[in-house]
């Protein structure tokens, strides 16, 4: 079962079992989340979707808001700033259609810049699960809280979940090596593992990218080289790495989706390869960057 399908089950369960939960939709997901007195479908009105969520939050509910990433984050961006942030209320935003998931739909249905622009607003927790089990853990936690949380669902998924670290949702070191610290975010882990299988690197996993775990990064870094593999806009977390290592000389290779109008359709794996985010592409970037010897 995909993360998206599981989310629909979990949201439906929350409506049945938790009187604080409300679900706000804009036509996306309505066929999967059954009608309920606290399920509000506002039609194709995404600005209203966020405003309604804010109103419900102001009255004590925990709104869960869902749509494709471009329509959840980009179109109602000022509503996220004003209706939620400025009013100082929370919501759980759950997107589908990560980066190039909607490859055949074209650019209008793709928002690889979602994490970058949401990170420009204060107070958001941004989570990028790489497996359906991680989604279950993150969503359950989000529903118990009151703050602003963005959970980014992808059709790409790792072969196995990564358990939460010893101190919550921070950086999880999977194996240690003498070479660069390679940080794989969410669903990039599988390709990153394949790309680095025979390399002497420290491999770490991250699913909660905001707030960025500065202390974890410092603790995991043995040398000076950091590689970020992010499934969204390349460099989205580069400033976070720079801030974490402000007093330490370091180098950073930031891999991700290029900042470009990418006018191709086809399959997601074709986009992944074109962006250099498959195992071969990640390996090639590492070899081109890592100094000889």
């Amino acid at each position: 079962m995909s993360m998206r399908e599981r989310f629909y089950e979990l949201a439906s369960e929350a409506l049945r079992n938790d009187e604080r939960t409300a679900v706000v939709l804009a036509d996306i997901g309505t066929a999967k989340i059954p009608e309920h007195p606290r399920r509000f479908n506002v039609g194709i009105r995404e600005q209203l979707m966020i405003g309604v969520a804010a109103g419900l939050a102001l009255e004590g509910y925990r709104p869960v808001v869902h749509s494709y990433a471009p329509f959840l984050v980009e179109r109602p961006y000022e509503q996220l700033k004003v209706d939620l942030g400025h009013q100082d209320v929370g919501a759980v935003l759950v997107s589908c259609g990560a980066s190039y998931d909607a490859s055949v739909e074209g650019r209008t249905h793709q928002a690889p810049e979602d994490v970058a622009i949401l990170s420009a607003l204060p107070g958001w927790t941004v989570q990028v699960p790489g497996h359906v089990v991680e989604l279950e853990r993150l969503l359950a936690r989000a529903l118990r809280r009151d703050d602003r949380i963005y959970i980014r669902l992808s059709e790409e998924e790792n072969h196995a979940p990564v358990p939460a670290g010893g101190h919550g949702e921070g950086l999880v070191v999977l194996r240690e090596g003498a070479g660069p610290l390679v940080v794989a975010v969410g669903p990039t882990l599988g390709e990153t593992m394949a790309a680095t299988a025979d390399l002497d690197v420290t491999l770490a996993y991250l699913s909660t990218v905001r707030p960025f775990p500065h202390d974890d990064l410092r603790a995991a870094l043995r040398g000076a080289d950091v590689v970020l593999v992010e499934p969204y806009l390349a460099g989205t977390s580069a400033a976070e790495v720079s801030a974490a290592l402000a007093d330490r000389p370091h180098r950073l290779l930031a891999l991700g989706v290029p900042n470009a109008e990418f006018r191709h359709y086809g399959e997601p794996h074709e986009h992944r390869a074109a962006h250099g985010l498959d195992a071969a592409g990640i390996r090639a970037s590492l070899e081109a960057w890592t100094p000889a010897g």
């Binding site: 600005q47 209203l48 405003g51 419900l56 102001l58």
Partner: protein, 212 residues
């Protein structure tokens, strides 16, 4: 919401004079004064919500809150200064009694829909110029279609919309299923009557005409 009245309508000019500073929205402020007074003096009940969506020119709002004992009078004197909670657009976290942080137009009505869906009786004040913002119409359409009868929108019509509303604002709300009327915004009894004259299964819109 409701508070014991400490001052009357005739005291408002003196309170407005205390709100000095480089206020840029004088007419905007005064255009809301009468409707705000009627709301706070006659209509709002303890559990009702009032959202000032048209946050431009909030001095009338601050004056009415102060007159009603919700906002400490001494706060009026520091209006728009660095340490004052009273700015040119209200911040709900800073202003006692403000239930919406507003300024950017077109946000109050959608949030009001959410609060009404949660079971509250909600009044939201918007301006005719503010209605240029498309986000309002997402809310107007949805509230009308689902018959959100606990929602009342008060539109201050001082003809500030650049291209106006030929045929009338109230007709547009009515087309979307609202019970909509136009009243003289300076006639307190008429405003009160319109705010109380609601219809089952329909949201309400009161267009308060406030021409110069």
């Amino acid at each position: 919401m409701a508070a014991t009245a400490t001052l009357g309508y005739d005291d408002l000019p003196a309170l407005l004079k205390r709100l000095t500073g480089d206020e840029k929205h004088d007419w905007s402020s005064l255009s809301t004064l009468d409707v705000l007074w009627v709301l706070y003096d006659r209509v709002l009940r303890e559990d009702d919500r009032f959202l000032l969506s048209k946050g431009h020119g909030p001095t009338a709002f601050y004056a009415v809150l102060a007159a009603k004992g919700i906002l400490p009078l001494e706060l009026l004197d520091g209006f728009s200064s660095f340490d004052s909670p009273l700015g040119h657009h209200p911040d709900r976290l800073l202003v006692p009694g403000a239930e919406l942080g507003s300024g950017s137009l077109g946000h109050g009505l959608p949030i009001a829909v959410g609060r009404a869906l949660a079971g509250r009786r909600v009044y939201v004040l918007v301006g005719d110029g503010e209605l240029d913002e498309g986000s309002n119409w997402e809310a107007v359409q949805y509230a009308g279609r689902i018959g959100l009868e606990t929602l009342t929108a008060v539109v201050i019509d001082n003809e500030s919309s650049t291209y106006q509303w030929p045929g009338g604002i109230e007709r547009r709300f009515a087309l979307e299923g609202w019970h909509a009327v136009r009243v003289d915004g300076r006639d307190h009894d008429a405003v009160e009557l319109a705010l109380r004259d609601r219809r089952s299964g329909r949201p309400s819109c009161v267009v308060a005409e406030m021409l110069r």
